[in-house]
């Protein structure tokens, strides 16, 4: 999986567009400079050698060096990825909460007004582009009501000391309550915007799964044993309905990362996705390739974590 993903990234970015250096430096450099840059990036080597070098680098944690930025990709990632991850995790929290609450109830109350409303809410939450809902949220909560800040990760003087890069964690570690408050205030709008979108999908999934398990044989058998309805719904319907949800959470995480690009842009969130988009704007192939490689590795990592979680919650896949 890792290898295939990396190969795809390589093919897409290295083999397709021809010459990255000319494209990046374009009219800004002399032919000699371009030649030198090409040599430095190993672009004059045969494709297969480049491929092997790329794969070797990616697997050993060397993602290359941008043309337009003196920092290495690893450094850039280290500086921006925590912001993205913090946003993504907060978004996931919102998504899971909304999805489970609304979806579970809708599946239980199927075809009632709550179900129809919940379903519609799920569809609309997914249909609304994050950058648009984000904009509206900014307009309303930040500009109009002034309750919450509209962009950035923390107020100018309230940034916590950088330890892990996760501001919530850092401010807790340093016991900096002002930073914690500022961080959370900044996190609320982007996390909810992002989380609602993915939550829309969760609502659908949870609802359908809930409906299916509620009609399953073991639910009928549980009723035949005279168990309390609350028990039947929770232990037999709800809990078992969540198992397939956990297994597909990896895919939802990918969706979340994709939409983090938009959320970061909307809320001016200094994350990895923002960096990626900036490098794309500067046509910096080396940087784009490095960041995309990192994202690919994250995706693989997340799917591993999901596998582990599934193993923990589902006795059928315990080893």
């Amino acid at each position: 999986m890792v290898l295939i993903l990396l190969t795809l990234v390589f093919l897409l970015l290295r083999a397709v567009p021809g010459d990255p250096v000319t494209a990046t430096l374009g009219g800004r450099a002399t032919p000699a400079q371009i030649e030198a840059a090409q040599e430095a990036m190993g672009l004059n080597d045969p494709l297969i050698v480049q491929y092997l070098q790329y794969m070797g680098g990616a697997l050993t944690g060397d993602f290359g060096n941008p043309v337009t930025d003196p920092r290495g990709v690893v450094e850039i990632v280290a500086e921006t990825a925590p912001a993205t991850m913090e946003l993504a995790l907060a978004g996931m929290l919102v998504a899971v909460t909304v999805g489970i609450l609304v979806g579970g109830l809708a599946g239980r109350l199927r075809d009632t007004p709550f179900d129809i409303g919940g379903r519609l809410f799920g569809i609309i939450a997914y249909a609304a582009p994050v950058f648009w809902t984000g904009l509206l949220a900014q307009l309303f909560f930040a500009v109009k009501l002034g309750w919450l800040p509209s962009s950035g990760r923390a107020g100018g003087f309230d940034q916590p000391e950088w330890i892990t890069g996760f501001y919530v964690l850092d401010s807790l570690l340093t016991g900096d309550m002002a930073a914690l408050q500022s961080t959370i205030e900044h996190l609320i709008l982007p996390a909810i915007t992002l989380g609602l979108l993915v939550g829309g999908i969760f609502i659908r999934l949870v609802r359908v799964n809930m409906m299916q398990t509620l009609r399953s044989d073991y639910v009928e058998a549980a009723r035949a044993r005279g168990l309390r309805e609350r028990n039947v719904l929770y232990r037999y319907g709800f809990k078992t309905a969540l198992i397939p949800i956990v297994t597909i959470m990896g895919l939802q995480f990918a969706l979340l990362l994709g939409n983090a690009v938009l959320t970061e842009r909307t809320f001016n969130w200094p994350g990895l996705a923002q960096a990626l988009v900036d490098f794309i704007g500067q046509r910096d192939y080396a940087a784009v390739q490095g960041i995309v490689t990192f994202i690919a590795l994250v995706i693989v990592g997340v799917s591993l974590i999901i596998d582990i979680i599934t193993g923990l919650v589902d006795p059928r896949v315990r080893y």
């Binding site: 249909a127 500009v143 058998a221 044993r225």
Partner: protein, 697 residues
Amino acid sequence: MSTENVDAAGPVRRGPAPGEPRTGLRARLSHAWQPFRRASRVSRVLIFSGLGIVVFFLFAAFLGPLLYEYDGTQYRVEVAPGQFEPIRALQPPSGEHPLGTTRDQFDVLGRIIDGASLAFAVMALAVSIAMILGVTLGLLSGYRGGPIDRALVTAMDAVYAFPALVLAIITAFALSAIISPGVIPAAAAVGVVYIPQYFRVVRNHTLSVKQEPFVEAARSMGAKERTVLGRYVFFNVVQTVPVILTLNAADSILVLASLGFLGYGVPPPTAEWGYDISRAITDVPAGVWWTALWPGLAIVILVTALTLVGEGLNDVINPLLRSRGKTGPKIEPAPREDTPADGGTAAGAAGAADAGQQSGRPSVAVRGLRVGYRTPDGPLWAVDDVSFDIYPGESLGLVGESGCGKSSLGRALMRLMPPGGVVRGRVEVAGEDMVGISESRLRNKRGQDLGLVFQEPMTRLNPLMKISDHFIEMIRTHKPKVSRAEALEIARTALSQMGIPPTRVESYPHEFSGGMRQRAMIALSIALEPKVIVADEPTTSLDVIVESQILDIFGRLRSEEQIGLLLVTHNLGLVAETCDRVAVMYAGKIVEIGPVDQIFNDPKHPYTRGLLASTISLETTELHSIEGYPPSLIDPPPGCRFAPRCPYVMDHCTDAVPQLAETNPEQRAACYLYPGAGAPVPEGVRAPEGNPQETGV
């Protein structure tokens, strides 16, 4: 049950008359309509409101530019020939510009209309690209198999796992090195995202179809393999692709807008909703809301509408999600026949008189029991006015053809109904009527007074709970005073009674074999020492050794614990071995009931005789099967329901329903061949006698 409804559905089911094209079309339309009719009303409303909105947008996209005066990229108006006046920027909505103007001096409504055209164009292109590539690769992969298949599958999985939006951005980025930005590269970037979905569906169908015998057969008959494959894959895929397609179409609008928002979509100044919103970011703090609001609303509404259509289609196509029992007309509360339905009257008294060998109070007394379901084709009574008793320690067999209502009857004793099912009549268990009592009283009695064992043991236990937890939960629900340790002890005892080592109590259900699970289910249903166990084909899915073990267990429970047993089964041999009495059901009614040896050696009802004659046993001289099929329960035949298949049918058989009448001591049959069924037996009619396996039906 309403006859109008059956009539209304009648013409739909009748085929088109030949040579009448109008009927043909109608029939075909109603055939296509069939799944919609079966889907819930909610799904139908969703689909059609969604479709309405999509059609509205299509009109806007195609006719809008002709009807509306402003173009999306027009920044000035020609006031006189050759004389232009610029459109003023950032004007709020007004009569002149209904949705306002942008900072680039464009008319917002004009841009929304043009944006719709673009969205539809990109949507169509992107989905086509994805479909063509996905289907081709899927066919190739499934057809060729081997390393190509493996490589493609992994690659597609990888693409699928990658964040869609990032993939689209990178593709747009990579493509921009080759071709200049425009509609086509944007559509390609959007389309790449969806390839894996089509790939997967087509590949899986190709693979499964390739192994089908009919493909082999067609091949050997000289048909070109590829044509055959193609055709079958096509027909299978056609069922799933519409859903994927609609949902992708919805999603593609979002991806296109996102690309546009980030500046990697169609280059400006082409009207595109996402780009327009990105232009509006700086307007928002200045209090200019109309430039951001409208394009966003357009996206939300169109995507929602498309998703509604897709989800609705999914509901319609995917029968798993169909809400069974909630469609179709309601069941009329009034019993439809004139036979009294409650205890104490004729049927009840007769039922009590049938009495069986035992004396004393029955554990279960059933009187005038009916079970009804709502179905899309109309309501039906799966069990129709049935009465019987089960005495302590007695075992009553319940036999009959598939679909005659045996399982419905078994579940009705517990009032365990799916949505849309109703139970009428009386089921007296330990002095209380299961049909009439409150939900909480009912829950108390379920599991405690009545145990139910199901046919399929594999799926009846909660996969996430240990066997022990199933026991503890149930025991402590009914007897809160019992401690966990005590409950665990009961579980151990019950399991070891079933021949399962008590140490296995901490296992999960998946660690048990089918036979063990069934024994665990039985242990669970006897843990609270119920008065009666209803066992619905408890051994059908098990091998003979486990079967005889389970029957032994039942035998012991009956003799030692005086537990009554209702054994539902197809297997007459099983009944002969295990049961004291047997009830024969046909089309929702008990047609004959009596002691096992009498029913087996001298059955009275022609249906029972037919059933026995079609069973192999030592005495079999000739194997007969009953001609025809059981009738539809929605519109059962009048009078005796067996009349259409009965070799002894008489004129008056179809006049009224025959009543159960005593034919031998303790044996009763509902047939006009015997006196007491409700009409005098005509002169010269001789009822059949003896064992039908020897003397014939």
